[in-house]
Point group: C2
Chain length 396, copies 2
Amino acid sequence: MSSQAGPLIRLRRGHTELVLELLGKHGPLSRSSLGSLSGLSRTTLYEIVAELISTGAVVASPAEPAQRKRGRPVEKLTLNPRAGQVIGIDFARRAVHVAAVNVAHEVIGTASEAHPAGLPWKQRVDLAGHLVDSLAGGALDLGALTALGVGVVGPVFNPGDEATPAHGVDDLPILLREHFQVPVVIDNNTRLAALAEATWGSAAGSREVVYLRLSYGVGGGLVFGGSLHRGPQGLSGEFGHIRVIEDGKPCECGGTGCLETVASAGAVLDAYRAAGGAADDVPALTSALRDGDETARELLGEVGARVGDVLAGLCNAVGPGLVVIGGELADTGPALLEPLEDVLRARVMPISRNWVGLRPAMLGDTAGALGAIALVLHESPVLSRYPKTSTSKEDA
Amino acid sequence: MSSQAGPLIRLRRGHTELVLELLGKHGPLSRSSLGSLSGLSRTTLYEIVAELISTGAVVASPAEPAQRKRGRPVEKLTLNPRAGQVIGIDFARRAVHVAAVNVAHEVIGTASEAHPAGLPWKQRVDLAGHLVDSLAGGALDLGALTALGVGVVGPVFNPGDEATPAHGVDDLPILLREHFQVPVVIDNNTRLAALAEATWGSAAGSREVVYLRLSYGVGGGLVFGGSLHRGPQGLSGEFGHIRVIEDGKPCECGGTGCLETVASAGAVLDAYRAAGGAADDVPALTSALRDGDETARELLGEVGARVGDVLAGLCNAVGPGLVVIGGELADTGPALLEPLEDVLRARVMPISRNWVGLRPAMLGDTAGALGAIALVLHESPVLSRYPKTSTSKEDA
């Protein structure tokens, strides 16, 4: 939200963040204590506090009588426990997922609803509104809603509060602002799932995460130094379009032999059926595995090895860290993940071998919505310095 | 340099950076103007200014008589033009390179000297000292030296001011501190070359850079958001050890079929000789090319295609940006770079194709030393907010 802000606005924001950080860390403080802790001038501090009180982010209350000495009572300032709430919405291909956090950044609810592919955007936004209302049964004070994080399918140019999703939803930011009356931040939902896993999921606390999603599409996201890495045009994380087969099958992206052509859920099911197996979806494949089907086991072993090879190259390039595997195909479990890990460890540089970790994702379908919240918490100038959840580390 | 600093020290550093930034931006300022521009309290500001004057970073001088009105003269504060100088040293395998910048971050000199491989570290540090003295003939005020940036060969664990280079030079930081009496920051020299190219070289002004060095080793570095990306253990940028051939030749790293086994200067010269060519080094190969040698052209075409394939996968993963090719092998020119670019563009995702740029590196042998300076300028808490060079963009 800072792309167009001038230097003075940014300076003020830095001071505001500092005040919020101190209130979060030290609890109730008088203006005078806040002044000496922050090093800000009386004028600057009083202006910032007045603004924070007027937006509801901070509340002022008289100190306990025991703490008063003489003269007029000293007001103590605290973060407003009902303010600072953020909602995340993931507009997936055939479902809407929502999630919400309170001021302490604890997840207080999630909800999902499937819909037919191609549902018009107006109806998807309405559906998201209904789901949010279902969360708000008392626990959620929507009046204190500060911002909305949103995930969408496909590349997002200029991700953030002036995002342009590539897949033709130009007016989505407008629809959302009309409905929710708060600033909106948009990014790709798979990349947001990576951020969610690094914030609340199986990579919680890790600052260097490679997240790979093996679903009907194959994609991912990179978290470096605790922040989402997007690349200049928001085109990072396209692991599914790394070429793994010379003269391979054509891919939806326009290329050939991409990882997605061999490791997507659809590609794996096609290959399984071509080898004589019978499975319409990943759960059917997983249950064939459980029944000892060797064809399924061999196929997933080959796919795992292929994926492990790509991940090894990637870990050599960006540095070893925690690798998280999500998406429906990860539900097939060890048949995929064990050969994947074997090849990953065998092919990463020997010096890096012990620094690579591998875990299955744990947030499931709501990862995108949770990641949209994490994005707002990381990027909003007012919220970014709020107290973090216990699992997420402080930004560098 | 901040890893062990407590929150109050970090807060004070932020204020100090702000004061330096304002002085850099607005030129000479009175304490009172500095107070209103910064929003800092009188007490905080006066303490910071006193400390900056005592370290020599800022000088106080009386205002011009015309500007005085009445009473005691108002002092104006300015950045000390002789302070803030940084030296970079690159301890390469067989040479030491040094470079220095002045307070405006302009490069004011570089020097290099070759030495036998395996020269003891004490002698290498002495050699560096002599080279630095050769730079100091009047232009360089070593008394104002603030920090030393250092590049070394091989992985560097915990890069920064408490770095441990992997290749057995435990006492290097101590030797350097004894000799130069200033804080020392160490990182891998190839990664530093990446930062130098992004700061002063062919990627100047680009915030997303993939730098690949094709020399007798193959490595590289990643610049994301204008900063060096290291990975948690300082093991990023090992592009040379991405596997490109199944069951390929053994590699120095302990793996097999690594990019380095086909695209290092040594591998290319070996292959050229195996195909009947005669060349002892890259200049001889380049001159064979110039004489129309088809064997050399075909070989470099194959190597370029192989490298382009790896780079395409990398651009799909981290997002397209500027790709910079350095190292001796890049001197072979279009015979290598044209097929490399063709394959890179053909194999990156179609949607990313127009966002990828390719340039040869331009800083040559001193890139590591210059990158070491850039590292200090980016990372030192006091210097990081100094006015940047005209070509480097503001940090995000």
